[in-house]
């Protein structure tokens, strides 16, 4: 999948607010890409725009999203319906509100598969078995209603669902945020293992740099609707070039870090109504110069596949 210069705006009280402002990145086959950012950075809007699931007041004003040579922003709804689940599937954040409380999960699996696949009853069963096995979801729990399952089990059910039509890309929006730390690790490890076995690509949307650093090959740091840094995770973590990424990495304490010093970033992330002119990070940036208040910095090439947005990389 390739996202090029994506711009998304929301219409609010007769004004257009730009939530995503020229975002480009790509997800290669069998790669895990992490989109990390704070609330309001536009990370979830990117995912919704890709799947054309934006709310009614949201609108893609510019840009292209290509998936397997198809243009997702413009293709007709019927073709898109095929790509959802079969080409790209999504693991939502809140597992309780994403599963029908009135149906056994097994029924949901069957319905989804029937809508996309016309095989015999045995073939349907075989596919479901494979998906639940991949997601480490106990088969007997297909008889359960969502409320009978723990949070971790429900999340595994959603992961199994996302694997049902053997998609090439899975988009996971904060897949483990609602879970306890130990279960979070179990699920992330399982997703990693699963990805290796089926060679699917993964796009994780999260606020948690820890998750990206451990489970993603490529890291995309977003701020105020823009990509501030992009590159191989290792490289970005060890050699961040945009001041925002630098400070963000220093602002979180690390377990067993003996320095015990964390850096405060003054101020707050900007609201969509009031994104500063020039570089959006300028009011919070300790290195800001006069040019930063006037011109929007370009996404500068650092090396290989590593880019950072700053006038002074």
């Amino acid at each position: 999948m390739k996202v090029e210069n994506l711009k998304v705006s929301y219409r609010l009280r007769n004004r257009d607010l730009t939530a995503v402002n020229g975002v480009s990145f790509s997800v290669e086959r069998a790669q895990a890409v992490g989109l990390v950012g704070e609330s309001g950075s536009g990370k979830t809007t990117v995912a919704l725009a890709v799947l054309r699931l934006l709310p009614a007041n949201g609108n893609v004003s510019e840009g292209r999203v290509t998936f397997d040579d198809m243009e997702l922003i413009t293709i007709p709804e019927e073709e898109l319906a095929r790509i959802r689940w079969e080409g790209i599937s999504m693991v939502p954040q809140n597992s309780m509100s994403s599963l029908s409380p009135a149906h056994r999960v097994g029924k949901v699996f069957r319905d989804v598969l029937r809508a996309h696949f016309s095989g015999s009853e045995e073939e349907v069963d075989a596919r479901i078995s494979r998906a639940v096995e991949l997601a480490n979801f106990p088969k007997k729990a297909l008889e359960f209603y969502p409320h009978q399952m723990s949070g971790g089990m429900r999340q595994r059910a959603l992961i199994a669902l996302s694997m049902l039509c053997q998609p090439k890309l899975v988009i996971a929006d904060e897949p483990t945020t609602a879970l306890d730390v130990i279960v979070q690790k179990q699920i992330m490890d399982e997703m990693k293992d699963l990805r290796r076995r089926v060679e699917a690509s993964l796009m994780i949307i999260t606020h948690d740099i820890g998750i990206v650093s451990e489970y993603c090959d490529i890291m995309v740091v977003m701020y105020a609707g823009m990509v501030f840094e992009y590159g191989p995770t290792e490289e970005v973590i060890h050699d961040p070039r945009s001041p925002y990424t630098k400070l963000l990495l220093k602002s979180h304490p690390l377990l067993f870090d003996t320095a015990k010093q964390i850096v405060e970033i003054p101020g707050d992330p900007p609201e969509l109504e009031r994104i500063p002119v020039g570089c959006p990070f300028v009011p919070r940036c300790p290195y800001a110069q006069s040019i930063c208040k006037e011109a929007e910095p370009p996404l500068a090439h650092i090396s290989g596949n590593h880019f950072a947005r700053c006038h002074f990389v």
Binding site: D180, I182, Q184, H207, L247, L254, P266, P269
Partner: protein, 349 residues
């Protein structure tokens, strides 16, 4: 190992004997009845209880930061609420500044001059229809502190100590006019205004955006170092605990699994559960911390027999399934409850 300097404040050499006990929690229990339907009553099924905390004891010394850590259902928040008087304990006692408090005395008003609490969601801390000043003035009025003119000044001082400067530009705002980070600072200010000796902070940064967490954490650290205010920090995040806490109390299903000096407990945990929590933290050395606990947190209603952690523990044997472990001492002020405690070798594989 000596404590490294943090946030520009050099460590003060002090031994335990110089710090005095502020709060002692003894065998605290809090059970909630589970509502039963007509069918249950007709069937005369057993009366069920949720054992949120089930015999928790620890002490809090003046001017130290204590971390209550564990997963959901561990009872860490209930413990904080009970000390604060927001929940009435089923049994047990709380001794505050050498004064034993009966269950009846544990009401929000009684301790609130000395003990204050801040919550995870700063938006729920404030009445959205009141300005910060109205909230402050009400707190001070109830506390019976200061004249009207004094109260304004006290509130301004608290706000600026919490990092909202100039305080004059914040005090007459409504909560909706502040960002999440500013609001959490304002919540800390409402706690500071009565000069508490103990602050109970329930996941104070977990709802805040990554870039504003550091500021709130450093604020808490500063208040502790400068004002000698003790803090009971409730958190699920061990990296936050590592950064802030002097002592750790690790809880699992209503009981303490391990407690002791934070750095020692984290570097060489004796309880497998502590090790599992560390192993689940991001960016730790995976060759040393490869300990994965099985399954998920059990139920507070059907507690496992014997050690509560045994269904998830890879080291569990027959004794763990039968007998609840008793306290064992691992070092000065450090104890754990486990039949098969970890050694360093065990973790290294």
């Amino acid at each position: 190992m000596s404590e490294p300097a943090r946030y520009g404040i050099s460590p003060v050499a002090e031994s335990e004997s110089f710090t005095s006990e502020l709060l002692a929690v003894k065998e605290l229990k809090k059970y909630y009845p589970v509502r039963r339907g007509v069918v249950d009553l007709l069937r005369r099924s057993r009366k069920v209880q949720v054992k949120a905390i089930d015999g928790v004891s620890f002490t809090v010394n003046e001017g130290k930061i204590y971390g209550l850590v564990g997963e959901s259902g561990s009872g860490k928040t209930t413990t904080g609420y009970t000390i604060m008087g927001l929940e009435t304990p089923t049994s047990g006692s709380i001794i505050f500044q050498d004064k034993q408090l009966s269950v009846k005395e544990l009401k929000p008003g009684n301790l609130s001059l000395k003990v204050r609490m801040i919550f995870q969601n700063p938006y729920e801390t404030f009445d959205p229809r009141k300005t910060l000043w109205q909230t402050f003035s009400e707190i001070l009025q109830v506390a019976g502190l200061g004249s009207r003119a004094d109260r304004r000044q006290m509130s301004l001082d608290a706000l600026s100590r919490a990092g909202l400067r100039p305080a004059e530009s914040y005090i007459d705002r409504f909560p909706s006019e502040l960002s999440g980070g500013q609001l959490q600072r304002a919540a800390i200010a409402t706690a500071l205004v009565v000069e508490p000796v103990l602050l109970i902070a329930d996941e104070p940064v977990s709802m805040l955006d990554a870039s504003i967490r550091a500021g709130v954490m450093n604020l808490l650290l500063n208040l502790n170092r400068q004002k000698k205010m003790a803090i009971l920090l409730i958190t699920h995040d061990l990296s936050v605990a590592w950064y802030l806490c002097d002592y750790l109390i690790v809880m699992y299903l209503g009981r303490i699994a391990e407690k002791g000096p934070a750095e020692q407990v984290l570097r060489n945990p004796r309880h497998p559960y502590t090790a599992a929590l560390i192993s689940a933290s991001p960016m730790v050395d995976k060759t040393r911390w490869n300990f994965v606990a099985m399954g998920e947190v059990g139920s507070n209603i059907d507690l496992p027999k014997g050690c509560r952690f045994h269904p998830r523990c890879p080291f569990a044997t027959d004794i763990c399934r039968e007998q609840e472990p008793t306290a064992e001492v691992a070092g000065d002020g450090w104890s754990f409850w486990c039949h098969h405690p970890l050694s360093v070798q065990k973790l290294k594989n």
